[in-house]
Every structure is written in C-alpha cells, then in structure tokens.
C-alpha cells in the first residue's frame, strides 16, 4: 500500500467534500425559507413578499448550480479514488444512491427550472408548488446521503460475503440499513444545521441592507422571518446534538472518547472539558477547564458511570484525537453563540429596538461565516472521529483505495481541483456580491410612487453606497 496515494486521496476527498458542502446546506436552508416567503405572498398578495421571494430565488439558483457542479465530483470520486471501498459498499449504498437520484435530484432540478425561469409562465399556485418541490428535493438529497454515511458509521442490515480482499457487504434488510442506529439522529442534526445556516445567510444580507438604509421594507421582513427560524433551529440543535452524542457513546465509543479527549476510563465519573488542549502523546489534556461528572451524565444519563476511554481501544484503532476534539468543541461553542445571538435578536425585536441597534446588526452581518464553520466542523468531527475506519469496524480507510491509481495522477487532479475551485469560489463571491449590490427589484405601487421617481430613488441610493462591497465593479444592473 502506497502511503502517499492514501494521503493524497484523503486530502483530495477532504478538499472536494468540504468545498462541496459550502453549498448544499444553503440550498436546504434557503429552500425552506423560500417556501415560507412565497406562502406569505400567496396568503397576503403583498408584492413585497413577491419581490422578496424573487430576490432570494436568484441567490438560491446560483448556489444550487455550484452545489450540482461540485456534487458530481463526489459521485465520481467514490469510484476514481476509492474503488475498493466502492466494491465493498456498492451493494449497500446502491439502493440509497438510486433513491437519491430518482427521488431527490430529478425533483430538485426539474422544478428548479420552473422556480427560476417560470415566474411568468405558470400560475402563482403552480409556482409555489414548484418551490415546495425544490425545497423538498433538497431535503430528500440530504436524507439519502446521511443514510448512506450513517451506514458507514453504524453498519446495519447487511452481511459480509467473500474473504480478505474480496470481502464485501451485501444487504440483508433494506429498512435496517435505512434506519441504522445513528441515521435519524444524524439526519435531524444535519438538517437543522442547514436551516441555521440558511437563516443566518438571509439575516446577514438583510442586516447589511438595513445598515445601509437600502430596501428597508424588504430587508426588515426578510430579517424577521429568518431570525425566527434561526432562533427556533438554534434552540433545537443542542437537543438533537445531545441525542446524537448519546448514540455515539453507545455505538462508536472511540469517537466519543476522541471528541472529549477521554484517555483513561478510570473508576470515577468522567468530567466534561469546556476548553482544553489535548495531548495524545502524553495522553492528557493541558490547560483544561472541566465540569466534574458532566460527560458521564450527558453520555449515559448517569453521573456516576465512567465513560469508556481510549485506553480501552487498541492503539491502531484510535482516531486522531486533537482534530476530533477541537472541531467538536468549536462546533459546540458556535452553537452556544447562535443561541445567545438569536435570543438577543428576538428580545430586541420584541422590544421593537432591533433595527436601531446598529452594533447588533453588524454582528449579524459578520456572523455568516460562523454557521458555515459549524456545519463543516460537525462533519469533520463525524468523519475524522470515525478514522481509521471508512466503514466503522469493517473496512479501514487505508484498504479502501483504488489499486489502479498512482500518486502522480492524484496529485495532478488535486492541483486541478485547487485551481478550478479557487476560480469557482472567486466567481461565486463576485456573483453573490453583484446580486447583493443589485438588491431586490423595487416594488412599484402605482398611486404613491411613479416608476420614474422610483428609479431615481434607486440611483440615488446606489450613488450613496460603495466601498463596503467585496469587489470593485460598480453598477451591475442586469440586462433587461
């Protein structure tokens, strides 16, 4: 086994999956918000909600295209870089992938056409139906992917056929595979994370408009809807996280031990580290602040029972402790921050002072990278914490590689990916920035505002801003 092929393939997979996962959570989260916005439009007939839905649809479309383009990479990569893994899991994953293609992808991309291009081609009700189908499709794709990934974490409903290098998993019970011990908890946690991200994304742009005094009516309404969603979801996430961590304690003790840097099992209740610097070599946590017995309580619901430590796990089966510990703890603290921030926002909204509190709005503007980070860190915890296994307890990552691929080929494709993804990212930021600068189309209500003065109004506003954008282009008014 060539170590460099392994390292390079892992780097490439991490690079491409993390880049890809910038986009799906926004598609899922924003998709849900679009359904709410368009439902408000249908219910009230208020053109402000129509303008709002149209604006966020444009952002959704760009994001969705990025998700599709980078998602095909993932489907290819299982075969190109992890052929042995593909042979091993193909029989089990097959049904999940087939279901994803047929139920999710066709649904999303078919109705996306109507959502984006169909405003004046179909009735509002049919359009709303399409929006719901796109949001549902985005949700479905997360369902099947998380099911497949959960099977790698907690395999169920299968038996092993063949021996040694020829061994592979074959499905025995489809529903046991779908509802593998961890799948539903993980799915809920993933989807809530996506809704938090979508809501923070909307709040960031809306708060920016409020601060700049642009599109005020649009921005305040968007912000309010997103804030409520963000608060509910941020409160729900720790509960779902707790349920999931209990499952990890039960099914993947090595991962939990790494997440919490539990090196020795001991006979005392296990403390929970709020902070700390784990040192795997010396098997201790430096500069740690711990709450006695809390981990035992959280993991088992029993504050006396010691948590299984890494001393119970053979050294060759240890996951990397530091990465797992840091990513997990950072994610948790980010989650705490989301709860505090959204509750503060809700309180100010209730008091009616939210939109005057400029510093708080700036926090919302700048907070948008944090839910992205939290989503990524959660997956890092899940995937790095599963190492050295690709299928937990069954197939090692180092055995899962393609045999026909050399280090040079992988290095070449990594370089290509870095170039292309850097370009894509730059262009994505540029396009997003131009959409944001352009803003929603102003709602023109004939008796009060004429189209003429409305246009001058916008032009005046445009001239007033500038500088704060991410790129240097000025007026990027779209054609037609």
């Amino acid at each position: 086994m060539d170590v460099s092929v392994l390292t390079l393939s892992r780097i490439q997979f991490a690079l491409t999956i993390m880049f890809h996962y910038l986009f799906p959570p926004l598609s899922i989260g924003l998709g849900g918000l679009l359904v709410i916005m368009e439902a408000m439009y249908l219910k009230t007939g208020d053109p402000h909600y129509e303008g709002m839905t149209k604006f966020w649809t444009k952002i959704f479309a760009v994001n969705f295209a990025m998700g599709v383009a980078t998602g095909i990479t993932m489907e290819f990569e299982f075969g190109t870089n992890w052929a042995t893994y593909s042979r091993y899991v193909g029989d089990v994953f097959g049904s999940a992938l087939a279901a994803e293609g047929i139920f999710a992808f066709f649904l999303e991309s078919g109705f996306l056409a109507v959502l984006v291009f169909g405003w004046d081609k179909v009735s509002p009700r049919i359009h709303f139906f399409s929006t719901c189908m796109v949001a549902l499709g985005a949700l479905f794709s997360s369902v099947w992917i998380v099911i497949a990934n959960s099977w790698q974490q907690t395999p169920a409903g299968f038996h092993i056929v063949g021996e040694g290098l020829r061994a592979r998993a074959e499905i025995t019970d489809f529903w046991a595979m779908v509802f593998s011990p961890s799948s539903m908890q993980r799915l809920v946690h993933t989807v809530i994370g996506a809704y938090i991200l979508g809501a923070f994304f909307v709040m960031s742009i809306a708060a920016y408009y409020i601060l700049k005094g642009r599109h005020l009516d649009f921005a305040k309404r968007s912000f309010t809807i997103a804030l409520i969603v963000a608060a509910v979801m941020s409160l729900a996430e720790p509960i779902s996280g707790d349920l999931q961590a209990k499952k990890v304690a039960q099914t993947q003790p090595a991962k939990l031990a790494a997440m919490e840097a539990v090196f020795q099992t001991g006979s005392q209740p296990t403390p929970l580290y709020l902070f700390g610097l784990p040192n795997a070599k010396e098997q201790r946590v430096n500069a740690g602040v711990a709450v006695p017995g809390l981990l035992s309580l959280l993991a088992y619901g029993d504050s006396q029972k010691p948590v299984t430590g890494l001393d119970q796990i053979p050294g060759r089966d240890w996951p990397p402790v530091a990465v797992t510990f840091y990513s997990f703890h950072l994610m948790v603290w980010l989650g705490v921050f989301f709860v505090v921030l959204t509750l503060a926002g809700l309180y100010c909204l209730w008091r009616g002072t939210l939109f005057e509190k400029r510093w708080l709005l700036w926090v919302f503007v700048l907070a948008v990278p944090l839910p992205y980070a939290a989503n990524q860190l959660g997956w890092v915890t899940a995937e790095v914490g599963r190492q050295p296994w690709v299928v937990y307890g069954l197939l090692r990552t180092s055995d899962a590689l393609s045999k026909a691929v050399g280090a040079g080929q992988v290095l070449g494709s990594i370089i290509m990916f870095i170039i292309i993804y850097a370009l894509l990212f730059a262009v994505w930021v540029f396009v997003l920035d131009s959409k944001i600068k352009h803003g929603p189309d102003e709602v023109v209500i004939p008796p009060t505002v004429t189209a003429h003065s409305g246009l001058f109004g916008i032009a005046g506003l445009r001239a007033g801003i500038g500088g704060a954008s991410l790129t240097e282009t000025d007026d990027v008014k779209e054609e037609e």
Binding site: A65, M66, I72, I102, G110, A113, F117, S413, V431
Partner: protein, 338 residues
C-alpha cells in the same frame, strides 16, 4: 428475464435518455462560438437554460445506478480511467458554471472567456463520452483482479478517437436541429444551413465508424451474428438517419428532431447489443471481463432498486414532461434569462 438483464436495460435507458436530452445541450455548446453577436449567443444559451440542469441529472442517475447495480464495473471503470474521468468532470463543471456566470457581468472579456469555456467544455465532454464508448467496444486491458492495467494514452487508440469525433458530430447535428426549433428570424435562417452542414459531417463519420466497427471490432458484431433480429434496429436506425434530411428538406423540423432523437436512441441500443453481456470487456483474457453477472450487486439489492425505480420513474417522466411543456416554444430573452 433476470434482474441483471433488467438493470442492464435500465442503464441503457438512462444512457439513451441522457444522450438524447443532454445531447442537444452539448450540441448547442459545441456550436456556441459559431454565432458572434452577444444577443445571439444569449439566445443559444437560453435555449437550453432552464433544461440542461435536469438533463445532466440523467448522467448523475446513470452513474448512481451503475454504482448501485454493478459496483465492480463502476469501481474498475472510474479508477482505471482516472485521468479521463477527471477531465470529464472538469469539462462538466466548466460547462455548468459558464452558463451560470456568463450573464453576470457586461464586459466583453468576461463574456468571451465564458463563451470559449462553454464551447470547449461541451466539446471535450462529448468527445470523452465517445472515447469511452469506443473503448467499451474495443475492449480494455483488464486483469484477473478486475483492475485496469493500461494507461490513459492507451485509451486514445484510433478507433476510440474516431468514435469521439462521431459523438461530437452527432451532438452538433442534434443541437442544431434543436436550435432551429427554438429560434426564429434571421438567426433561424442561418441555423438552417448548420443543420445541413452538421448532418453532412455526421453522415461521413457514421459511415466511417460503421465500416471500422464491422472490419476491426469482431467483439462488437458477435451478438449481431447470434441474434439476427437486431438487424431490424440497424434498419430502423438507417431509416431514422435518412429521415433527418428528408424532414429538413420538407420544412418539418419537428420530425427531423424526432428522427435525430430516434437515431441517438438506436445507436445507444446497438451499443448495448454489441456489449452484452459484458460491461467491460477484457482484451487480455475474455474470462476476466466484467459482465452483468460477475460485476453485479446481490439479487436483493437489484430487486430493491427495481422497486425504487418502478416507484420513482413515473414521477420523473411526468414532471420532466411538464417542465418541457412549460418551456415549449421559441426562446424569449427576459428578466429571468441568463
């Protein structure tokens, strides 16, 4: 009919669906640089604007179904042809983002960059599909362990290159007929000329490829000797091809497009016949080939997936038709266009 054969056929249906639907998208991309004016290029892009994404899903689903039904073949092909698949991937990514990003800025340099990228990516992806078909027909060096033993360069033999060019010509013709249906006025008049030109190139390459296959690809013709009834499809294929110029001449582009779809479907079918029961034919030792039996998932998985497909495909076909119906008619550049 056992489930292995059922899934072989279903993969063929997905492949044909992809080739017909994304075929005209890729064809439009290949022809994109022929028009020079910005407004005309926008018409070309927007003729496929709302549809290409859904069409590409046929490929994604084909890939997923291959992984699911025949994981050994998926693993062998994707790892063995690593460089080719990476190139295909980059082409598909560029094709997608070129359309998405071209209209986002007005500068001429920005737009011509994405125009060239759109055309090159479409042509490269099509060419690679053709090369893949050519290699499947000729067989590849597959060892007893089901692993590919050749190199990327060894995939680029003359027959594969010819099929690659044939694929480009086929999609260009298919795309030009599609464009003729979707455009009007002076642009449509010019596209009328393209239909004849691309058909001419297609016909020459069709004849060359057929002769090369009959003379030098004994594997590909084996099933035709065993099962003479498949010659009916060959005849239908020839009739469909012959109907393309006839329909263009008679001014019935709809029939020409239907014939072009039928041609692609027939070619995919013949490709399947030539291959069956192999998925990847080993040129080192026929016994090492990957077939629909030794490369397949278990009977249970094939059965579950057949149930999923039976449940899902009617919906897919229904709303795909609805979307095509919504976007029927000529391209109109509007507020929501690229």
């Amino acid at each position: 009919m056992d489930l292995n054969i059922f899934w072989f056929i279903l993969l063929g249906v997905l492949l044909a669906g992809y080739a017909i639907l994304d075929g005209f998208d890729l064809g439009v991309g290949i022809l994109h640089l022929v028009v020079k004016r910005d407004q005309e290029r926008r018409v070309l892009m927007n003729s496929i604007g709302p549809l290409w994404d859904g069409n590409e899903v046929w490929l994604v689903t084909f890939g997923g179904a291959l992984f699911a039904a025949f994981p050994q073949a998926y693993a062998t092909a994707f790892s063995g042809f690593y460089t080719a698949f990476m190139m295909l991937l980059f082409a598909l990514i560029f094709r997608a983002v070129s359309m998405e990003f071209r209209s986002k800025d007005n500068s001429a340099a920005w737009r011509s960059f994405w125009d060239v990228s759109f055309c090159a990516a479409s042509a490269l992806a099509t060419f690679l599909f053709g090369v893949a078909v050519g290699n499947a027909m000729s067989g590849m060096p597959i060892g007893a362990d089901m692993e590919f033993q050749g190199t990327f360069i060894s995939l680029l033999h003359p027959y594969a290159l010819l099929v690659g060019l044939f694929a480009v010509a086929t999609f260009a013709m298919h795309g030009s007929i599609y464009l003729y249906l979707k455009t009007e006025g002076a642009l449509q008049q010019r596209i009328h000329g393209w239909m004849w030109q691309t058909f001419g190139i297609f016909l020459v390459l069709y004849i060359l490829t057929t002769i090369f296959t009959l003379v030098a690809m004994p594997l590909a013709t084996h099933n035709f000797r065993e099962h003479p009834w498949v010659w009916i499809v060959v005849v239908l294929n020839v009739l469909a091809i012959a109907n393309i110029p006839r329909a263009i001449f008679l001014g019935r582009p709809g029939y020409a497009f239907a014939s072009s779809c039928a041609t692609i479907a027939a070619l995919t079918f013949l490709f399947g016949v030539a291959l069956f029961p192999h998925l990847i034919y080993s040129s080192l030792n026929p016994d090492w080939s990957l077939t629909v039996y030794n490369a397949a998932s278990s009977h249970k998985t094939l059965a579950i997936m057949a149930a999923i497909a039976a449940l899902g495909m009617p919906f897919v076909l229904a709303y795909t038709s609805v979307v095509y119906w919504v976007f029927r008619g000529k391209v109109q550049l509007g507020k929501f266009s690229y």
